[in-house]
């Protein structure tokens, strides 16, 4: 770049490069999951099946949102569905939880031009706002991924269904889950087994949670559907 603003970490990693939009917080929403009937799968003749789960649906407007979440008190929760309306910029994000939970959804997006009257704003060469000191940044502490059922492609014989495999990790600051992709597995209407993510302050845990049924039986499905992935974000100062 010939002009503009750049910022770097102590170790020389780019923070703000003067050209690329930064993820910044544009909205935070809080809802409590309720025990309700949630559509799951349908069959050849169009019969829609459902399951009774702790569930909530967030609705918000954004451009290209990237979401993070955390449930209060370490209750494990799972991003179930994330969809955009056919027209406009209305998005819905659905979550389920292993028990009733207060779920906080944090929406990160390209920062809108605001009437902020303080701080630093950084624009790219075409005049688009790419960083704004008045909005919290998505501060990335870690990226965690794994896969419960090894391999790639469709498997239908010889393998058992993975168990919960609960794991945990701790950080020195309060954290949330960013861009989480849940491992998922089902057969017919039971079991339904999905990644579930819990955070309590700086302590996180995650597992392949048996929401419905259990892991008895033979694994039938795409092995890579049991892959999970999330970013651990520093939530200091973000409520």
């Amino acid at each position: 770049m010939t002009a503009g603003f750049q910022a770097f970490t102590d170790t020389g990693v780019v923070q703000i490069d003067g050209a690329t939009p930064n993820y910044q917080l544009v909205a935070s929403l809080v809802q409590v999951t309720q025990l309700e009937s949630v559509p799951t799968v349908f069959n050849n003749v169009g019969t829609q099946f459902s399951a009774t789960l702790w569930h909530t649906t967030f609705t918000f407007n954004a451009a290209r949102p990237f979401y993070a979440f955390r449930a209060d008190g370490g209750v494990m929760a799972t991003p179930w569905k994330f969809s955009k309306s056919q027209t406009g910029n209305t998005f819905t994000a659905e979550f389920i939880s292993v028990g009733q939970a207060t779920i906080r959804l944090y929406v990160f997006d390209q920062v809108p031009v605001t009437s902020n009257r303080f701080g630093l704003q950084v624009f790219d060469a075409s005049g688009a706002l790419i960083a704004d000191a008045a909005n919290p940044f998505a501060r990335v502490l870690d990226v965690i991924e794994g896969q419960y059922q090894p391999g790639l492609g469709w498997q239908a014989v010889g393998n058992s269904v993975p168990g919960p495999n609960t794991q945990s990790k701790s950080y020195s600051v309060p954290v949330g889950f960013g861009g989480a992709l849940a491992a998922h597995y089902f057969v017919n209407t039971s079991p339904f087994i999905l990644s579930a993510f819990g955070a309590n302050g700086g302590s996180i845990s995650w597992e392949f949670h048996q929401y419905i049924g259990n892991n008895s039986g033979t694994f039938v499905g795409f092995a890579e559907a049991t892959r999970y992935r999330f970013m651990v974000l520093d939530m200091t100062g973000i409520n």
Partner: protein, 101 residues
């Protein structure tokens, strides 16, 4: 920190300093169930990707492959595994984001 940018919020809480890595969006695309790739310079940080699925479950036969994504300093590639049958095939669609942090 020895040098760099520091940002505080209105209540005086430090929100960013030079010890913290923040995400930058380099690209995004809605995946429609077909493999693809984008070549791009992702060498100025650790590349990351995130996939936000439109759905996880559809037809009861489970014929819903998920995108298998790989990323490097030169770009991002996604593929879908071959299905066991073409019947009631619903690949999982959704937004793929990538960038550096």
């Amino acid at each position: 920190m020895t040098a760099g940018l520091q940002i505080w919020n209105a209540s005086g809480q430090l929100m960013l300093d030079a010890t913290q890595r923040i995400g930058r969006i380099k690209g995004s695309q809605h995946l429609d169930g077909n493999g693809g790739h984008v070549d791009m310079d992702l060498s100025d940080g650790a590349p990351f990707w995130s996939f936000q699925p439109d759905f996880l479950f559809k037809h009861i036969n489970g014929n819903s492959p998920v995108p298998v994504v790989s990323i490097s300093s030169t770009g991002i590639v996604w593929t879908y595994s071959s299905p066991p049958t073409g019947d009631y095939l619903y690949p999982i669609t959704g937004y793929l984001f990538w960038g550096c942090y």
